[in-house]
Amino acid sequence: MRLKKTQANGQIAVKRKKNVFLRMLEQWDLQILVIPGILLMIVFTYLPIYGILMGFQEYKLGDFPGMSQWVGLKYFKELLTAADFYRVLRNTLAISLLKMFIGFPLPILFAVMLNELQFPLLRKTVQTVSYLPHFISWVVGATLMFDFLAVDGGAVNEMLMAIGLVKEPIGFFMKGEYFWALVLCTDIWKELGWNSIIFISAITSISQDMYEAADIDGATRLQKMWYITIQSIMPTIILMFIFQVGGLLNANFDQIMQFTKQMTNAMLRDYADVLDTYIYRMGISLRRFSFGTAGGLLKSVVNFALLCLANKIADMVGETALF
């Protein structure tokens, strides 16, 4: 009996020392399920990460990517001193912050309201309908909004004129000043329901006992909503907010590209040009490859730093952190 045990232990010890590749070969039937995905990731995810080298080099047409002459931080300096850069940064931050402080709380409010709603059928209907716009593209979203907000015959202008709020139709897509509000409102229209799902499911898991206890203590409805519902889903809210902060420099490329007709609408550019569209215009349309790469890298580094910072703060305050 004893002998057997040592033998077994010995076998395990031998197994542990075996080469990783041999062990992978032994369970080929499991490895073969991961490896295609890993190979695809090497090509389509890791090669572009390698391509970041171009941001530190002087890429010339015909060079093998990553093998050009090193120029250090030249393109980062060029980016930070570019004439349009601060306008681009302002637009990016303005749109992101609007989405963070107005666009972010609304789905929470919506989830809480749905939870308080007394009519289950209405609740189901609203949920189904409100998730729907998430599943259409911004190409379609923009098509809808161009028509809905059109100057001649757009439903919104017709309505505003019918109730006498305005005399002349408003050219929503013709003035840069409207653009931020436009982007914010349409984004809420498209994503409100979808963004509320995670909060709705968090609310579902709150124990009913807490509400009953509060009833016995004579809490009002609003008190219950604030002290029980909102407080219980706080970890989810914090987590989502950390993600939101980590995306500060992404200002919805798809939406803005479609709203500006791929940045060809010159009337909007002063307010619509954000980091992503700028990188696209410079790097892909104008073929300034090294410049565009540097811009992309700067953006993702800053985003990552912000994510870490937000996470650190949440951790310090004692709230749930991401990592």
């Binding site: 062990r23 992978m24 369970q27 499991l30 399920l33 991961v34 295609p36 995905g37 695809l40 990731m41 090509v43 389509f44 995810t45 890791y46 090669l47 572009p48 990460i49 391509g51 171009m54 749905l114 308080e116 709603l117 007394q118 209405l122 609740r123 189904t128 309908v129 409100s130 729907l132 599943f135 259409i136 593209s137 190409v139 379609v140 098509t143 809808l144 161009f146 028509d147 015959g153 439903a155 229209w189 799902i197 499911s201 579902t204 009953e212 016995i216 009002t220 409805r221 791929q262 990188i279 696209y280 790097g283 892909i284 490859f289 790469t293 992309g296 953006k299 993702s300 580094v301 990552f304």
Partner: protein, 311 residues
């Protein structure tokens, strides 16, 4: 979400009724605001173009006609683009489910050799990516410019979907795997014959995500594809919206050659206009999503919750 029926019913006070009213009104307003742009476009697409110009279309067609759709469906360009969109959606969804699903399954097995390495390998790209320009280069160097596979290959692995599937498979009882192993089944069989069939909610959810992603994608087509024959529906819709001339040509081409069509059009007093064509093309673009979505909806809320439990 359903309220516990046995809960101690607190007395309703006046303020409760006020709150109930406010909430109900707000929710109904959200419902209307979300739906109205869709209904308005649908009404315009089903309304006679000459009548539409007069304005005032709300949520129902005033002079019903299918003429706008006729024009859209008789355009060969639309059929071609629709074919491309369907092809990429079907191939992309099936391929994505297989590759990403297999990956998620393997990574949910605790016995996977080099599991830690794979996990880190998949974690890094969630925080740092190459960006637009380096990605463009990789695609170019691979010779995928003007190639249908540029729609499929880069999208076969989706890490968020992989994590959702991994958490789902990890949540299934381990005994399933153990008993099959004892019977001598290999992992490929275990995945397809045992785990796949019991994972309908998550598979439906991920299929919806992949499908919608492919159906809606426009960026790859506008950056990597120059060949007009390979352009998907979203790109066609973009050209209709961006160049009014495109839609006019489409309307004009309704009868035989463009010239004849234009003349016929004039004779009929311009029986169609750009707006009607745009709206009907848009509706044609979203119809499949609208049809599929309600069937999958009951799954995806569940699917998301499975994923969010383990994050």
């Amino acid at each position: 979400m359903a309220k516990n029926p046995n809960k101690i019913v607190a007395k309703k006070v006046v303020s409760d009724y006020v709150l109930d009213t406010i909430f109900t009104v707000v929710i109904i307003l959200v419902l209307i605001t979300t739906l109205y742009p869709f209904l308005n476009s649908l009404a315009i697409s089903l309304n006679d173009a000459d009548d539409t110009i007069k304005g005032g279309i709300t949520f129902y067609p005033r002079v019903f006609t299918l003429r706008n759709y006729e024009l859209v469906f008789t355009n060969p360009k639309i059929w071609k683009a629709y074919g491309i969109t369907i092809a990429r959606t079907v191939i992309g969804t099936v391929g994505g489910l297989l590759i990403t699903g297999a990956m998620g399954f393997a990574m949910s097995r605790t016995g996977l050799v080099a599991r830690k390495f794979y996990t880190i390998f998949c974690l890094i790209p969630m925080y740092i990516g190459g960006g637009l320009v380096p990605t463009y280069f990789v695609i170019k160097e691979l010779g995928l410019i003007d190639n249908f596979w540029v729609y499929i290959l880069p999208a076969l692995v989706n890490l968020w979907n992989m994590i959702l599937m991994r958490s789902n498979f990890a949540a299934q009882p381990e005994a399933l795997e153990e008993s099959a192993r004892i019977d001598g089944a290999d992992y490929i069989t275990i995945f397809f014959k045992i785990y796949w069939p019991i994972s309908t909610p998550i598979i439906a959810t991920i299929a919806l995500y992949f499908g919608v992603q492919h159906w809606n994608s426009w960026y790859d087509a506008s950056v990597y594809i120059y060949n007009q024959d390979l352009k998907p529906m979203q790109t066609v819709l973009m050209s209709i919206v961006n160049e009014a001339a495109f839609a006019e040509r489409m309307a004009a081409a309704s009868g035989g050659s463009a010239d004849a069509g234009a003349i016929a059009n004039m004779a009929k007093g311009k029986s169609t206009n750009v707006r009607s064509i745009t709206m009907s093309t848009m509706i044609v673009t979203i119809i499949p999503v609208l049809i599929v979505y309600p069937f999958l909806q009951r799954y995806f809320v569940k699917g998301i919750m499975v994923g969010s439990v383990k994050g």
